[in-house]
C-alpha cells in the first residue's frame, strides 16, 4: 500500500518549486521547516536560517566538505541520523530516520539568508519515494 504526501508550490530563489513542510527532531531538539524537494540534490540539507531558530548544536558537527549552490559556497556539516516527519494526505504524521546535513553558507550576504532547506535524493531513494504530478498538484508517493 502506498502512502501519499501532498506537496505545495512555493516561490524559492525566484522560481516556483515543489516543497513540503517537515518536522525534524535532531539531537533531541525539534524544528519545523519548509524544504524544497530537489531530485538533483544528493543530500538532505537543513538551511542555516532554519537551524539558527533552534538549539541544535550544528556548529560543533563534523565538516563534510564544501559544495557550490549557484554563487554560494555551502559548507556541509553532518548532523547525524535525525527523525524527519511528514504529514500524509489523511493528516497523519509519518516519521523516517534520515541522515541530515547542515548547510552553512561561507559566502555571506542576503542571498545566503534566503537559502531554503532541501529534501534530497538520499531521502527519496532510502524511503522509496517517487514524485507524481497530477492536475490537483504534486505528491510524494511512498511505495512498499
Amino acid at each position: 500500500m502506498s502512502i501519499v504526501f501532498p506537496l505545495f508550490k512555493g516561490k524559492f530563489l525566484g522560481y516556483e518549486r515543489d516543497a513540503v513542510t517537515i518536522s525534524v527532531k535532531c539531537r533531541g531538539f525539534p524544528l519545523l521547516s519548509v524544504a524544497v524537494v530537489d531530485t538533483g540534490c544528493p543530500f538532505t540539507i537543513l538551511s542555516e536560517a532554519a537551524l539558527k531558530r533552534t538549539r541544535i548544536p550544528y556548529n560543533s558537527s563534523t565538516e563534510c566538505g564544501v559544495v557550490s549552490l549557484g554563487p554560494i559556497q555551502l559548507q556541509l556539516r553532518e548532523l547525524g541520523v535525525c527523525q524527519l516527519s511528514l504529514r500524509d494526505e489523511n493528516g497523519r504524521t509519518v516519521t523516517f530516520n534520515q541522515k541530515i546535513y547542515a548547510g552553512l553558507a561561507l559566502t555571506k550576504g542576503i542571498l545566503a539568508q534566503e537559502l531554503p532547506s532541501f529534501i534530497g535524493k538520499d531521502f527519496l531513494e532510502n524511503n522509496l519515494f517517487s514524485i507524481k504530478n497530477r492536475k490537483e498538484g504534486s505528491f510524494l508517493i511512498k511505495d512498499d
Partner: protein, 136 residues
C-alpha cells in the same frame, strides 16, 4: 420445525452479516475522532468499533505542520506588502500574524522568547529588498 429453525438461524446469521457490512460502510462514511483523556490517545469512533489511530503527540505534530505551512504561505502571499514595512529585516509569523521583527535572527529569538513563542516551530523569514533568482 427443525428445518425452519435451521433456516431461521441461517437467516439470522445472514441478516447479522448484512447489518455488519452496512455498519462497516457507515463507519467509513462517518468517522469521528475523539480524544481520550485517560490514555492520551486519539481514537476514531464508529458505531461498531473503537479504533486507535494516533497518539496526542502525533496529532499535535500534524496540527503544527499544517499551521507552519499556512504561516509560510501567508508570508509568501504578503511579501510585497511586507517589503514596504520590514525591508531587510527578519519577521516572525505565528498563527497567520506577524508577531515580531528584528534585524537578526538572534535578536528576534530573544524577542519571541519573552513572548513565550518558540522560534523552532515558528516561521521566521528574511524580507529582502528584491527577489533573487537561482537555477538549481
Amino acid at each position: 420445525m427443525g428445518t425452519f429453525e435451521a433456516r431461521g438461524s441461517y437467516g439470522a446469521k445472514l441478516k447479522k452479516r448484512k447489518d455488519l457490512n452496512s455498519g462497516k460502510r457507515r463507519e467509513k462514511k462517518s468517522k469521528k475522532a475523539f480524544l481520550s483523556e485517560s490514555s492520551k490517545k486519539i481514537y476514531i469512533l464508529s458505531e461498531h468499533t473503537k479504533k486507535e489511530v494516533v497518539s496526542v503527540e502525533e496529532a499535535m505534530l500534524a496540527k503544527d505542520l499544517l499551521r507552519f505551512q499556512s504561516d509560510f504561505l501567508f508570508f509568501q502571499k504578503g511579501i510585497g506588502t511586507f517589503r514596504k514595512q520590514y525591508i531587510n529585516q527578519f519577521i516572525a509569523i505565528f498563527n497567520g500574524k506577524i508577531v515580531d521583527s528584528a534585524s537578526s535572527i538572534d535578536e528576534l529569538k530573544n524577542k519571541l522568547q519573552q513572548k513565550g513563542i518558540d522560534t523552532a516551530t515558528s516561521v521566521v523569514e528574511f524580507v529582502s529588498e528584491e527577489e533573487h533568482f537561482m537555477v538549481l
